[in-house]
Structures are given as C-alpha cells and as structure tokens.
C-alpha cells in the first residue's frame, strides 16, 4: 500500500469517528440543501438547463484549441499578458518573476483552488513575499496553517470558538464568539492590507472566448477589492474554464450559484478584461493571465472521462457525497476533495498513487445526479478503479479471483468448500477480530453473517425432489 493511501486510511478512520465533526457538517449542509432546492425550484426546468450547460461545455471542451486561441487573442488585444504554463512549476516561476520584476512586497489573494493546486502561497512565502488570503474562510485556514477543507466552504469544519481562538492567538483579537463580530475583525484587518497591497492574485471561474474576459464569482467582495486596488493583477486559470460567449454566463452564473451555494446568484459576478483602460480612473495597470495545464490535457486525452473537464468547481458533488460527509475534506489529503477530486486527482497526480480515492466511494450516484453540468462522476470513479487494476493487478485480488474461478467451475469443490466453511465457522468465533483473524479488516467493526443451517441447494432439493 502506498503512503498517500495509508495516510488517507488513517485520516478517514479518525475523522469518521469524530461524531461532533459529522454533526457539524450535517448541520451546515442541511441549510445548504434547503436553499439549493428552493432555487432549483425557481428554474422553469433545472433538468433541461443542466443538459444545456452540459452541451455548451461539451462543445467548448471538444473544440478547446479553437476556443482557447480565440480567448487568448481577444484578451491579449485588451492588454493582458498571457502566460501558458504546462505545469505547476512553470506557473509558480512566472508569477514569482512578475512579483520580482515589479518589486512587489505585499500580495493579497482572493479565493482560488487553482493557486492551491500549484502551491503558490508556499512558493511566494519562501521567496520572501508576504501573502494574505482575503476570503474569510481562506484567511481562517491560512491562520490555522491548514489547507481549505472544501473547495467552496474552506472553513466549514470549524466552530466559532475555534475561529475565535485562532484570531486571539494570531491577531491578538478580542475574545468574541459572535460570527458577525468575528467577520468584522477580519474585515478591519483586511481593509488595511487591501490598501497596502501592490499585487492581487485571483482565480478565474469562466473565461469568455467571445470577448476575451474572465469572470469571477464571489460573495464577499474581496475579489473585487483584489482586482481594484493593487497595481498588478495576476489571474490563474485552468485551460478548461472556457465558455463560448458572455451570453453563456446567463446560464452558468445562476447554475453555479444554485448548485454551489444555494443562492440564485452570488453577490458579485464580475467580468474583467485586462488592465484599466485609457480614461478609467483606477484598477491595475498590469494584468497577467496564467493559463494552467498541469495534467488537464491528460484528462482531455482520456476520451471516456473527458467530460470531467466540464467541471465548474461548484462543490455540489462534495455536499451530497456520503463519503465526504463522513470523513470530511481534510482526510482526502489533496486539493480537490470529494467525488470530482477522486475522478481528476488520479489523472493530475498519478493513478497508482491515488487509486485509493476512487475506491473510497459507495457508488451511490448522488454526485452524478447533482452535477449541474452532467458529469457522470460515479461511472468515472468505476473507470478509474478499472484502469488502476488493469495497470497493476493487486496480487491478493489475483489469488482470490483464481480461487473463486476454481470454486465456480467445479460444483463438487464448491459443495465441499461450503460444507467445510459451515463446520468451521464456530471456530472463527474464537479468533474473531484478533490479529490471527484473516478476516480482521472486515470483522473488527462488523458482525460476520452466520451461515444458514441448511444451504440453499439442500433446501431447494428437499422442496423439489424431482429436479
């Protein structure tokens, strides 16, 4: 078993046993579910809107070269500097270079999972830059020196008490517990940072090919400030995040908000096209767009799973996933948690190293059902399992299936085996759950089913003596 799988298993066991944590997540998600269903219900047809969104994404992803070139040509014409990064290192180095060239000292960030993916904060800090996350949830987990717990709700695992503690410890804040008071502490502090920052880094929710603009979705206004006050704006965008036109956003913005946060539209949905233009009084004078591949073209090359690139990172599949709801976001140990993470992480970081993620699924299909862009996540999890086994069949599986095949092919052997098992089962009671038990991983937390006194075969023959 590989290291990341071992760590995953330990963490998952620990988190799943934390009943308070589970209650907290259940409670947080219950409110989300009510609002999500209310806003879905406002659509004249959510099902058709979903198929339309899937069709638009299918069109764009399957002509990605065309749309990317159109997008880049248009955004460059608006004064953006576009950098194509084939991996995380190239992206980090370019951003560090921009920071150095401009003698930036103080960097403010708005929420971006893509920058988490390339571990940008660590790289900037190591190079001596001060970096502040401005999204409240991200700011809290940054203070706690933790990765985001959820791609949309980074601090959903924390209580107000824990947040108050970290504010007191790291910010010498007043010992307040009220969410409003805590939010205001962060607001006041961030105001000073925003006014001092010379570089702002953001993610991108959608790239609009038609007009050469990026769209950023948020609730707090921190992305608006990040892109308004500092003199340099760097946006980091996965190459798959495109839509055809501005008008496509009329569908995608409400769907993202509904599926992701249970809102009809999030508070700020903003299109940016490059740096400030002649005649505009504020905004950054430089705009850099980093286009990131980092394994996305590998997903594109897997024609079976190409639609995983339709993902708009709404987080809906995490919210409905029984695994996520039990083990939480930190147990995964990767940037993208939940079903979508278990589909794409093996592509981004290596199938054999991360094959435990697709196996950690009940295949209930809730993710497939909820995905606003129609990604068949549950099937992709199965395909990842199949591909992992095909790449490197586990020895134990091979032995087990060899034995199973033998039993199935020889009825006398099957009858003999079942008879023996029925006879020996009482002996299993003596070692059940101990180190001697060959079934221990199963029996340590579960009951072993008892063999029936009479086998189905014997029972059937007794009922139908003529057959």
């Amino acid at each position: 078993m590989s290291t990341s799988a071992q760590i995953f298993r330990q963490n998952a066991t620990r988190w799943a046993g934390d009943v308070e944590h589970r209650h907290r997540i259940e409670k947080a998600l219950r409110g989300y579910e009510i609002k999500r269903d209310e806003y879905k219900g406002r659509f004249q047809s959510w099902a058709e809107a979903r198929r339309a969104a899937a069709a638009v994404k299918f069109e764009v992803i399957n002509h990605l070269d065309k749309y990317l070139e159109q997008f880049v040509k248009n955004i460059e014409a608006r004064g953006a500097k576009v950098f194509w990064a084939s991996d995380a290192r190239e992206a980090r180095e370019y951003i560090l270079q921009v920071a150095r060239d401009n003698k930036a000292q103080f960097i403010i960030k708005s929420k971006s999972m893509t920058t988490e993916e390339i571990h940008l904060n660590e790289a900037l800090q190591e190079a001596g830059f001060e970096v502040f996350e401005s999204d409240l949830g991200e700011f809290i987990v940054q203070l706690r020196e933790e990765p985001p717990y959820h791609i949309v709700f980074p601090a959903m695992h924390l209580t107000r008490g824990q947040i108050s503690d970290v504010f007191q410890k790291k910010l010498q804040a007043e010992p307040v517990q009220d969410p409003e008071a805590l939010t205001m502490i962060a607001r006041r502090l961030m105001r000073q940072k925003f006014c001092r920052a010379d570089m702002g880094i953001s993610g991108v929710n959608f790239g609009v090919a038609e007009t050469g603009m990026i769209s950023i979705t948020e609730n707090e206004g921190n992305a608006r400030l990040t892109t308004a006050l500092p003199r340099i704006h760097v946006a980091v965008m996965g190459i798959e995040k495109l839509v055809r036109s501005m008008d496509d956003l009329a569908l995608f913005l409400p769907m993202l908000a509904t599926a992701g946060a249970g809102q009809h539209l999030t508070c700020y949905n903003t299109l940016y096209g490059g740096p400030r233009l002649a005649g505009e009084s504020d905004g950054p004078v430089q705009f850099h767009l980093v286009l990131l591949d980092n394994g996305r073209t590998r997903i594109l090359a897997d024609s079976e799973q190409r639609d995983a690139l339709h993902c708009i990172r709404c987080g809906a599949c995490l919210n409905v996933c029984p695994i996520f709801r039990n083990i939480g976001g930190h147990a995964y140990g990767v940037t993208y948690q939940g079903p979508i993470g278990s589909v794409i992480t093996p592509h981004l970081r290596g199938l054999l190293e991360y094959k435990h993620l697709p196996f950690a699924s009940s295949l209930c299909g809730a993710c497939t059902e909820t995905c606003p862009v129609g990604i068949d996540l549950a099937h992709h999890l199965l395909q990842n399992r199949r591909n992992a086994v095909a790449q490197k069949p586990p020895l134990l599986d091979k032995i087990l299936f060899f034995g199973f095949k033998l039993l199935m092919k020889k009825p006398w052997l099957y009858r003999f085996g079942m008879g023996m098992a029925r006879l020996l089962q009482p002996l299993h009671e003596l070692i059940k759950g101990t180190a001697l038990d060959p079934m221990r991983p199963w029996t340590k937390t579960r009951q072993t089913p008892k063999f029936a006194r009479k086998s189905f075969r014997a029972w059937w023959q007794a009922r139908n003596p003529q057959s």
Binding site: F43, I61, M184, M213, E220, L249, L251, H264, L271, S303
Partner: protein
C-alpha cells in the same frame, strides 16, 4: 514570452483526435448543436413581460437579498431620499462620479463629494461612508445591479465604501441577465470597459458556521433608488 503555448495546444490537438463520449445527464442525449443563448430563457426562472411585473420581481428579490429598493417619481424625490439617509447616517462626504442623472440628483444633495472619474486618492475614498453611483442596468430576474468601470466611476467606488447607493432610471430595468448583456453589447460592442460587475445584494459571507453576515469586505448596505 508566452511559456508553453505550442506544447499545450499540441497536446490538446493530439487529445481531440479521439472523439469523446458525450455524457447523458438524466439518461437523455445532449442537445446537438449546443443550445444558443436565447433558448436559455425557457429554462431559467420566469420573468414577467411588463415593466410593473419586472419592478415587483426586482423589489421582492432585493428584499430577500436584504438590499433596500425605493421607487421615486423624480430626481428631486431621489435627492430628498438621499438627504434623509445622509442625515440619518451623518455622512460628511460621499464618493460619486459624473453622470447626467446623478448630476441632476446630487445638485440637490448637500454633502461634500469626492469624484472618482479622474485620479483620486485611495485614502480619501476609504474615508467616505457612502458611494452614490449610476448603473448600466438593473436585472429583475436576480435583483442585481450591473455596474461598469466606464460608466460607474471606476472599479473601487462601488466596493470600498460601506454603503453603496445606486441611482437608476426606469429605462434601465432589464428582465434578465441576457438582456443586461444585450444592453452592454449594444453600448460597447468591441470596446467593453475593463470591468463589468453584477452586484446582487450587499456583500455577504457564510464562512463561519454557515451563518449569514452582511458586509464581509464590500458594502454592508446596498440601496437602489429607481427614478421614474
């Protein structure tokens, strides 16, 4: 310097040589070709056709979002409203920008002004308790205000001061996001401002125990005054 442009485009073209399996959400094949945006209207939330219906929808959305929406008959009435708020909140200086409707309203408002159309000092804007701006459109379907860096005083004025007050004219009411995009397309085609922002209610967060708090980073209050 454009990095690995050719390499990435090469990988994409190589990958796309194999056709993909289209997903079938809900067990039905995807519409092909992908729907044109005007078709989206039949699936998105319904919006009434008359101005009155749209105004009502906007008002109910605004209320739900905890924004304040007021309809007034004239610029003078709008000015009176702003004066009331200015007195109640003891504004000493407001941030604003040049715009025919705003000029007409604000000439009757007796509060000092910081104009953000031209170069301004950030500290001065930060010190303003309120901003009064125009907008590009109002969106009935979502209760949103569309502002731009070109016509609404730049990027910072609508996000930095704690109270954002929008003055709109009745002709700016758009039924949905598609119509709002049509308005800016017609106005700017090919020369879009560097920022277009849909503002849907006052700034908010739910990052602490999923409890709603207004005024996370942006304005705590959003007031929309519709003239006419």
């Amino acid at each position: 310097m454009n990095g690995s442009r050719e390499k990435i485009l090469g990988c994409i073209r190589e990958a796309l040589k194999t056709a993909a399996h289209p997903p079938e959400p809900g067990g039905k094949p995807l519409p092909s070709p992908a729907p044109a945006p005007p078709q989206f209207r039949q699936w998105l939330p319904r919006v009434g056709e008359s101005f009155e219906e749209q105004c009502q929808l906007f008002a109910s959305n605004a209320a739900m979002l905890r924004a304040v929406f007021e309809r007034v008959p004239s610029a003078a009435a709008a000015a009176e409203k702003i004066n009331q708020i200015a007195r109640a909140e003891q504004w000493e200086k407001i941030a604003t920008h040049r715009h025919p409707l705003l000029d007409e309203v604000l000439q009757r408002v007796e509060v000092a002004r910081l104009y953000t159309d031209n170069k301004y000092a950030l500290e001065e804007l930060e010190a303003c308790p309120a901003a009064v701006t125009a907008c590009e459109a109002l969106v009935a379907q979502t209760g949103s205000v569309l502002v731009s860096s070109h016509a609404c005083g730049g990027r910072a004025v609508s996000i930095l001061p704690p109270h954002h007050l929008v003055v709109a004219s009745a002709s700016q009411m758009a039924p949905d996001l598609l119509s709002a995009f049509a308005i800016v397309r017609q106005k700017y085609e090919g020369h879009y401002p560097s920022m277009l922002s849909f503002i849907t209610g006052p700034s908010r967060t739910g990052d602490i125990e999923r409890i709603l708090v207004l005024g996370a980073h942006g304005p705590k209050q959003l007031t929309i005054i519709l003239v006419g």
